[in-house]
């Protein structure tokens, strides 16, 4: 299994997807800095804290930017074996189909957490620069550490909710369909992030749970968790089942 993990990581060597995803994960902190600068110059009387920046960052990370990136990564990890026609080379080695999918999901999990941490680091670095130039209220490193836990958890939760896209990538053998569907899904996020029913939409439900907003929507937390689990379990099951039974023509 360790060899499989090593090989999966080796496959990413010189891959453009890795630096691109890191740049993508830094987009949210940059957007936050621009927003902070705009607020500073337009409404100098307004003050905000490090936590405010992290809260907004988490919203963009979970509902917009990183969600798109994680879907792109998922589609890349699962479809590249088809587009580069490598399955006919590695499966007869032999490599177990189940193990291969397992390792891909594991890589996706590590990658998602890593990108969430990149977003956190980006927010911290840019907030620090802002703090030294313009000043931020309640700027404590310990506060940012609390947000680190939330960002890592967001990466883990998003990993679970992107599992259906792995199946979609396997089925369509490319990036296009998952990316189009993810764009629709993100539009759903935008529409529902301020609605109570967002607690029942798996991709906003994760954000509500992490921010402790689910209770205020009036929907039971267990129902929200149940929907997230249902979507991710279905995603994992169909991905494993399809790959195990698929004829590689």
């Amino acid at each position: 299994m360790l060899n499989l993990i090593f090989c999966e990581l080796l496959k990413l060597k010189r891959s453009k997807m890795l630096p691109l995803s890191i740049v993508g994960a830094l987009a949210t902190p940059i957007m936050m800095l621009l927003e902070a600068l705009q607020t500073h110059f337009e409404h100098p009387e307004q003050s905000f804290t490090l936590s405010d920046i992290y809260e907004n960052s988490l919203l963009y990370v979970m509902l917009l930017m990183n969600m798109l990136i994680y879907v792109a990564i998922t589609a890349y990890l699962f479809s590249r074996e088809y587009t580069e026609k490598t399955l006919k080379t590695i499966l007869p080695v032999p490599v177990s189909r189940n193990k291969l999918v397992n390792v891909k999901f594991f890589t996706l999990l590590i990658w998602s957490i890593m990108l969430s941490v990149v977003s956190w680091i980006g927010s911290l670095v840019l907030s620090t620069i802002y703090h030294f130039i313009f000043g931020l209220d309640d700027f404590y490193f310990t506060a940012s550490l609390q947000w680190l836990i939330k960002f890592v958890l967001s990466g883990i939760m998003m990993f679970f909710t992107v599992s259906p896209f792995a199946f979609l990538a396997e089925k369509t053998k490319g990036l296009v369909a998952p990316m189009i569907i993810s764009a629709v899904m993100v539009m759903g996020n935008v529409a529902l992030c301020n609605q109570n029913i967002g607690a029942l939409y798996p991709w906003t439900a994760t954000f509500f749970l992490l921010e402790g907003k689910t209770e205020s929507t009036g929907y039971p937390i267990l129902l929200s968790i149940g929907i997230i689990i249902f979507v991710s379990v279905i995603g994992f099951c169909v991905t494993f089942h399809y790959f195990k039974k698929e004829d590689l023509k």
Partner: protein, 305 residues
């Protein structure tokens, strides 16, 4: 006889289409088995089933005498393969791609990678990623990947695709050497009948999903018929002369030519007889029915590829 590959009523259907229809292939240990057939004959699907890439609709595949669905890890580590154009990770170099396969196999010596690259002449391609390779280089890397772990069985689907004539010759020599020196069993498909003819011990012919012939090449060469061909002005008069003067009855008339399969008399003697009897002979040839003719006849004309 010990068969390294043996299929039993192997069938593959996609919907209503039967791509592989009840084939029974027998590949003896240490032999080179050439699988021939036109595009769409079912060769690649049969090979993919042997490599566990495609699942049979029915039938069984025995590899090394064992059902290929049992103990796959032990069975497949003894096999090297290429299926059509080899697929490798585009962003990795030849060395990295082989290193990845070495690690996936586990318990393999590190030198195997460099040795395999040397065999196919790619040892100096240290920095070029696979995406920048020519088709011939990709094919060479595929061969290196197939042989690097010193397998007992090679399953090669169109391995010489994209290779230049020198490359083809090198690969032919390599395969012959592997078979003769190390006793490697090779199951190879190709469109190039001539190539298969030169290296194979046994030839199987697939047509429309069926295995219509499985024949020993040596026996086939022995049974190939030589014939004399005369292009004459009057075939009926010529036939009369053949029957009356030489008692030849083994002949075939094709428009204005006669094929004589009887080797009792030489072409000069028969030609002289025709001329003496005022027949105009415009062409005399000595032919040997080659494998292509044989297989073309077998699958109903139009060539094997």
């Amino acid at each position: 006889m010990e068969y390294i590959i043996e299929t039993e009523n192997l069938v593959k259907q996609y919907g209503a289409a039967t791509v592989v229809n009840n084939i029974n292939i027998h590949v003896p240990r240490g032999n080179i088995y050439g699988l021939l057939g036109r595009n769409g004959a079912g060769k690649t699907t049969a090979m993919r089933m042997m490599l566990n890439l495609v699942f049979p609709t029915s039938g069984t595949i025995y590899l090394f005498g064992v059902d290929c669905r049992e103990n796959t890890e032990k069975l497949y580590c003894k096999i090297g393969s290429i299926v059509e154009t080899p697929g490798f990770y585009e962003n990795l170099t030849a060395y990295e791609n082989l290193e990845l396969l070495r690690r996936l196999r586990g318990k393999q010596k590190k030198e195997y990678v460099q040795d395999a690259l040397k065999v196919v002449g790619l040892q100096n391609e240290r920095t070029k990623p696979f995406s920048d390779y020519s088709l011939g280089m990709k094919q060479r890397l595929g061969i290196a990947a197939a042989i690097m772990h010193k397998p007992e069985l090679l399953i090669l689907d169109e391995p010489i695709n994209g290779l230049d004539p020198i490359g083809i010759s090198e690969i032919r020599l390599l395969l012959s050497e592997l078979s003769q020196k190390y006793g490697t069993t090779i199951f190879i498909s190709s469109h190039v009948l001539n190539e298969i003819e030169q290296i194979a011990d046994i030839i199987g012919v697939m047509h429309e999903g069926k295995l219509i012939e499985e024949v020993n090449v040596e026996g086939l060469h022995k049974s190939n018929r030589r014939y004399l061909e005369f292009k004459v002005s009057d075939t009926l008069a010529a036939v009369k002369l053949l029957e009356n003067h030489y008692r030849i009855t083994d002949y075939l008339i094709q428009e204005d030519t006669i094929r004589v399969y009887d080797h009792t008399y030489n072409s000069g003697e028969i030609n002289k007889c025709f001329i003496n009897n005022e027949l105009l002979v415009t062409q005399v040839n000595v032919y040997e029915e080659n494998l292509e003719d044989y297989f073309s006849t077998l699958i109903g004309g139009g060539g094997i590829a």
